[in-house]
Symmetry: C2
Subunit: 455 residues, 2 copies
């Protein structure tokens, strides 16, 4: 282990340079004008894997953005670990709120700032660098490894889902490792045992067949923007309760241990969340503790509303059409295929008379709930304890990694959700960053995780 530590310490600059090169590629998967950048980011990952000594590193074409795959299977008798990451990133708007350009990695105060610095190029790169450390120092890995990196995590992940379903034999493994989550604080290591699923939709409302003038038609015209406001306010009230009949019926009760953990809030999440958001009070279902609201309660959010006029000044238009992007986060027992019809019915029932409502599902993915007792998860816990000097907490996160559910369902493998992001990393927002200390600790932790797993 001393030799491995030395290698890491001596190669910090080199690790960072390799990360910066990746970060500079604006691989925004949802914007077609970045399709070439997405491919360039995938090729960059292939080159990284080749240099490490991962074999057969290649792009796998899909109907969307390519997958990156590589393997090293020369540890007979040892378990096989499927390592997952994603090389695509979120859009950057509003771009004027970035302190430095979103695709120019910049180091300030011990952090690296860039879109993707954390989510998920930074976290994927630290796993690559753990593999590099082990391969370079030992000439081999302690376990068999398959690496699968996708380019559509921020765009619904359809291609990887299709690939996993079509080729489970290529991905045979004893455990999967996803490095795309966070920790509550820099001194509180964490393993995630639950993630929420997601449905992401666009609700379109049509009123008249053409835009109308509010002077001549105000009082008799349907207003699709007003109809959307009514629909949204009926779907979720001011107290965070979702009014979708049947939704809460399907929700499982948490265990007593979970309830105790949430209510005692030993991590002071309540205060931490207030600070992170810059608010004086939290919103949502105040009758549940914040950790439960984020990890184990379904939520519904509107992300944007288009239609009409939003420029400078005034235009008295009643638009013919307006659209809202609305998503739900779902604890694992609420399956998207069951919830989408309930959502659609509730939206249509909530619509006022005189408008036509169309609902389009943009993407969806199951949540996940795993047992903390399996050997791979215990190996990760031991590795975290060795690096951070304390036992990790086991917690649920509110985000969605649909592929985690799919690995469990199709590959029958326990999923280790261990990541090193911090709450103030500004995921999906301007000024995304990643702590350099977390990046290097992450490398050390993953080196140990693989070593323990191979013992």
């Amino acid at each position: 282990m001393a030799e491995l530590e030395t290698y890491i310490t001596e190669h910090e600059d080199h690790f960072l340079e390799d990360l910066k090169g990746w970060l500079r590629i604006p691989s925004i998967s949802t914007l077609p004008e970045h399709n070439i950048d997405v491919v360039r980011a995938a090729e960059y990952a292939v080159q990284q894997l080749e240099r490490i000594g991962i074999e057969g590193a290649k792009l796998i074409p899909t109907n969307g953005h390519p997958l990156v795959y590589g393997e090293w299977l020369h540890a007979p008798g040892k378990p096989t670990l499927l390592i997952y990451g994603h090389y695509d990133v979120q859009p950057v708007d509003p771009v004027d709120l970035w302190e430095t350009p979103p695709f120019e990695p910049t180091i300030r105060n011990g952090n690296i700032y860039c879109r993707g610095a954390c989510d998920d190029k930074g976290q994927t790169m630290l796993v690559f660098k753990a593999l590099e450390t082990l391969m370079t120092v030992n000439g081999s890995l302690p376990v068999n490894v398959r690496v699968l990196v996708e380019g559509e995590e921020e765009a619904g992940g359809e291609s990887i889902e299709a690939f996993v379903k079509a080729h489970p034999e290529h991905l045979q493994c004893d455990a999967a490792f996803i490095c795309d989550t966070g920790m509550p604080a820099a001194d509180i290591p964490a393993l995630i045992y639950g993630l929420r699923g997601i449905i992401y939709t666009e609700v379109e409302v049509q009123g008249a067949t053409r835009d109308l003038h509010s002077g001549s038609y105000g009082g008799v015209a349907p207003n699709p923007l007003h109809a959307l406001a009514i629909i949204i306010s009926r779907l979720k009230d001011a107290d965070g309760h979702i009014h979708i009949p049947g939704l809460y019926d399907k929700l499982h009760k948490p265990t007593q241990a979970e309830k105790d953990f949430w209510e005692q809030d030993p991590l002071h999440i309540n205060e931490a969340l207030r600070d992170e958001m810059g608010v004086t009070q939290l919103s949502g279902e105040l009758e549940y503790p914040p950790l439960q609201r984020i990890g184990a309660r379904p939520t519904l959010e509107v992300h944007g509303i288009s239609g009409g006029f939003t420029g400078e000044g005034a235009k008295t238009v009643i638009p013919a059409i307006a659209k809202a992007k609305i998503s739900m986060r779902l604890p694992s027992e609420l399956r998207p295929f069951e919830i989408i019809p309930l959502f659609e019915r509730a939206v249509k029932d909530a619509a006022p008379a005189g408008v036509t409502v169309t609902i389009r599902s943009i993407h969806s993915g199951d949540g996940v709930l795993v047992s903390p007792d399996s050997a791979p998860i215990q190996a990760a816990a031991t590795a975290l304890k060795e690096v951070y000097g304390k036992d990790p907490i086991f917690t649920r996160e509110g985000g969605s990694i649909p592929i985690a559910a799919l690995f469990g369902e199709i590959l029958h493998a326990p999923v280790v959700l261990m990541g090193f992001g911090l709450p103030d990393d500004n995921l999906h927002a301007p000024n995304e960053k990643y702590s350099l200390d977390q990046f290097f600790k992450g490398i050390r932790t993953v080196v140990r995780f693989l070593s323990i797993l191979g013992q």
Copy 2:
């Protein structure tokens, strides 16, 4: 009158060419990038007035877009008429819905299509052409005339308001004539005796101090878009009722004659509105007749909502800030200065906990209600009857012309609201048009109106 008729008939092409030249100038008053076009459109009006023989035609600088002024005061003993129009136009988005480019005047099926074809370059130009006809054929006008054309009608009209208030002596008149309204159908001439006032606001809601990820924060974060949906749905319900305490208390009861006219609906407005909007049922306060809802009831509309993500695909952002453009139309007894505080109070009361609401008034203007019995309005009625072969109806319109109220209040002049727009002219919408037949009948009507007024 025969000579005047002949002049009009022989100069139709010339009249249209002069209109087209004006229409080609994209004088969008709300978009700063068109400021030069706005000045060009004003200069075009000055040249028109000079050619007619209107004296002292000039631009009057203001804090915003210039006013155009000219006068002809050589009819001693005759009344003085203040003629108003506006040379600015609405924005053109969504531009892809225009069948021909918005600033390339195109004649199809007896209509001229262009932004401003009706509102208000077409209607202002027909008044100029009536003046030209009288001046050219007779060498003089039958009444004294002051012409005042503004460039901020679509942008709040602050500059003309300031000018009228500061220089009422320059505008001294016996009546004002505004050619910026319409008729219910091409064979139903109309005089407007009521217009609604307007308040136009932007409501800004701030939640967290930064954009948030709905996975990590959904369930505890304030969502300004959701808060706006709740505010808007609380301000106006699905049945068109506005929930602003005190609003309806100030509303006057209509006369029995008005109620009878609205309820009998001799013009079949109900069906006409359905056809124009392409809907199967009207929206709003169904317990009132449509004409009353448009002309004599206050209404509230949301025109656009910004914040978050509305591009292609999916972004799971909870924005820090969202904004809505919201306006109200107000019968004349509901004065903006009294209603704005009620609106602001209602918006703040409707906001859910956890967000900060800021309300900005973009512009406002009083409504107007005039007596149909005054001499100038009766002269206009006679002129309409001579051209259209039937008595005009007297009706209220739902749109707002704040300057009409100001002329009444500051100049103590009765306001004649006579215009030739048709319901399908697509004001403020793609494919705005003006009927050529209405344009030429309008010229004939205004020639007669001035002649009768000068008798």
